[in-house]
C-alpha cells in the first residue's frame, strides 16, 4: 500500500502524500525527539523533513527505500535544528512513579539526569548514530547506508557517544551514597 502511495505522491498527488505524512509523522517525531531532546525543535525538524520530502520526491529512484530516505532527510533536518542557534528548551520528563520506589530508583533518576546532560553534550552526528543503533536497533552497516557515511565513521561516532554517556553514568555511580545521606529516612 505504501509503495503505491509513494508512487502516487511522486507523481504529484498531494492526497497520497498527506496519507504518507500522517503515517510517518509519529515515527519521525520519535526519532527527532531522541536526537534533539527538545519537543519544539523535533516538531520543526519533522515539518521541514516532510516538506523537503514532498519537494524532492520525484528524484527518489527506489520507492521501496522511502522510509530510509525519509529518515535520512530527518537526520539532516535535526542537524540543522541543532545548529540553528536556538536555545535548547528545557524538557523534563518525569519517570513513571513506579520506578521511583527506593534508593535504586532514586539513583536511576539521578543517573538518567546525568545521561541527559551527557547526551546534550554530544554533537548531533553522534546522537543520530546512537539513536539509530539503540532506539531503531539498526546494524552499523545499515546505519552507514542510511546516513550516507562510511562504516568507520559510524563506528567512531558510536564509540565517542558511548564513551561520553558511560562517563556520565560512571560519574553518577558516585552519587547514590552521597545522595543517600541527604535522603529523608
Amino acid at each position: 500500500v505504501q509503495v503505491a502511495l509513494v508512487e502516487r505522491a511522486r507523481a504529484g498527488d498531494e492526497e497520497a502524500f498527506a496519507s504518507l505524512a500522517r503515517g510517518a509523522g509519529d515515527r519521525l517525531l520519535a526519532i527527532a525527539y531522541r536526537i534533539l531532546r527538545d519537543l519544539g525543535l523535533a516538531e520543526d525538524a519533522v515539518q521541514q523533513t516532510l516538506v523537503l520530502a514532498w519537494r524532492e520526491l520525484p528524484a527518489l529512484r527506489d520507492v521501496e527505500r522511502f522510509d530510509a530516505w525519509l529518515r535520512r532527510l530527518l537526520v539532516n533536518a535535526c542537524y540543522r535544528e541543532a545548529r540553528s542557534g536556538r536555545r535548547w528548551a528545557t524538557n523534563v520528563h518525569a519517570l513513571p512513579l513506579d520506578l521511583i520506589n527506593g534508593t535504586d530508583e532514586y539513583a536511576a533518576v539521578v543517573a538518567r539526569d546525568q545521561l541527559e546532560r551527557g547526551f546534550r553534550r554530544l554533537p548531533p552526528e553522534q546522537r543520530a548514530v546512537f539513536v539509530f543503533r539503540h532506539y531503531l536497533g539498526l546494524t552499523l552497516p545499515a546505519i552507514a547506508n542510511e546516513l550516507g557515511v562510511p562504516l568507520g565513521t559510524v563506528k567512531s561516532r558510536l564509540h565517542y557517544a558511548t564513551n561520553t554517556l558511560r562517563a556520565a553514568l560512571e560519574a553518577d555511580l558516585r552519587l547514590p551514597n552521597d545522595a543517600s545521606r541527604g535522603q529523608p529516612a
Binding site: V51, P58, R72, T103
Partner: protein
C-alpha cells in the same frame, strides 16, 4: 539498598517510547506548506538515451531543419546575451586540434588541448559549442548526444538538460554530461564563490541546501584561482555539478552529471565527481594547488 544502577534499564528509560504523537497542528502546517511547494523536477538522466534508427534520424533531421528554420528567424531578431551565434548546427572536432573558438574568460588563454589523460580517459575529443562558443574536451569513446540549439534563458532549469545544453553520453548511454552557459543578471555577484552560490540558489531553489553544505572550492583559470564551485548532491538527488564564471562577460558555465558519485557507470572514471573534475580540466578548472587560496 544496593546503590547499583541498572545501566540497561536507565538506557531503556532514556530512549523509551513516550507520547510520540505528532500534533495535528504540525501535520496541518506541513500540508499547507506542501500546497504552496512545487515538486522539484527529477534531474535523473534517462537510464539510457533512446537509440534512433536511420528512419527515425531522417525524420528527426527533417523536423530539426524545420524547427531551425523558424527558430533562427526568431532567434536572430533578439539579443540573447549568452554569446549565441544563432547557428544551431553543432561542430565536433575530433582530436586535440586547437581552435580559437573558446570564450572562457576565466583563463587568460583559452584551453584547447591537447589535454592530459585522466582516470579512465586516455584521449579526448575536442568540442566547440556553436551556441556558446566554448571549447572543451570529452572522452574519445563517448558520443555527442545532442548539441545546444539555443542559449539558456531565464526559466530554464539549471540542473537538468534541454535544448540549451550540449550533451555527451558514455558508450553505453548510462552516464551523461551536459554543459551550458547562463548570463548573470546585472547586479549579481559572480566574482566570489558566495555570489555564485547565491546566483545558483536563486535560479534553482532546490540547489540552495546542498550548495551551502557540499560546495567544494575549485579554481578557474590556468594559473589564476578565480571562483569555481563543485557540488556533489546527496545520493538521493543523483548528481554532481560545477559552475564558474567569466567575470568580464558575466557568463556562468554550468557542467552537470546526472549521476551520484557512486553510480556504477562512473566507476571506471573514478566516480562521477572525478569524471566531472576530469572534464573540468579541459576548461582550465582545477582543484586548488597547495597554498593556493581559491577566489
Amino acid at each position: 539498598m544496593s546503590g547499583r544502577i541498572d545501566a540497561e534499564r536507565i538506557l531503556d528509560a532514556f530512549l523509551a517510547p513516550e507520547s510520540d504523537r505528532l500534533p495535528d497542528r504540525v501535520i496541518d502546517a506541513t500540508l499547507a506548506d506542501i500546497a504552496r511547494t512545487p515538486q522539484r523536477r527529477a534531474m535523473r538522466v534517462p537510464w539510457r538515451f533512446p537509440l534512433m534508427t536511420n528512419t527515425m534520424r531522417a525524420a528527426a533531421g527533417v523536423a530539426i531543419v524545420a524547427i531551425v528554420g523558424v527558430g533562427v528567424l526568431a532567434f536572430n531578431l533578439r539579443p540573447t546575451g549568452n554569446g549565441a551565434t544563432g547557428t544551431p548546427a553543432p561542430t565536433q572536432t575530433a582530436g586535440p586540434k586547437p581552435t580559437a573558438a573558446s570564450t572562457q574568460g576565466a583563463a587568460s588563454t583559452p584551453s584547447v588541448g591537447p589535454w592530459p589523460a585522466q582516470p579512465g580517459i586516455a584521449v579526448w575529443t575536442t568540442y566547440t559549442s556553436q551556441v556558446y562558443g566554448s571549447t572543451f574536451g570529452y572522452p574519445e569513446d563517448w558520443n555527442l548526444e545532442a548539441s545546444a540549439t539555443r542559449a539558456w534563458q531565464v526559466g530554464d532549469p539549471l540542473l537538468n538538460f534541454g535544448p540549451f545544453t550540449d550533451i555527451f553520453t558514455s558508450p553505453d548511454g548510462d552516464v551523461a554530461v551536459w554543459v551550458f552557459r547562463l548570463t548573470a543578471e546585472p547586479g549579481a555577484d559572480v566574482s566570489s564563490r558566495e555570489g555564485l552560490g547565491a546566483l545558483v540558489c536563486e535560479l534553482e531553489a532546490s540547489a540552495c541546501e546542498p550548495i551551502s553544505d557540499l560546495a567544494e572550492p575549485m579554481c578557474a583559470g590556468r594559473a589564476a584561482c578565480l571562483p569555481a564551485v563543485l557540488v556533489a548532491l546527496p545520493e538521493e538527488r543523483e548528481g554532481v555539478f560545477a559552475y564558474f564564471a567569466d567575470i568580464e562577460t558575466r557568463q556562468v558555465t554550468v557542467v552537470s552529471i546526472g549521476r551520484e558519485d557512486s553510480f556504477p557507470g562512473s566507476a571506471e572514471y573514478g566516480g562521477s565527481v572525478q569524471l566531472l573534475k576530469s572534464i573540468l580540466t579541459t576548461m582550465d578548472v582545477h582543484t586548488p594547488e597547495p597554498g593556493q587560496v581559491p577566489g
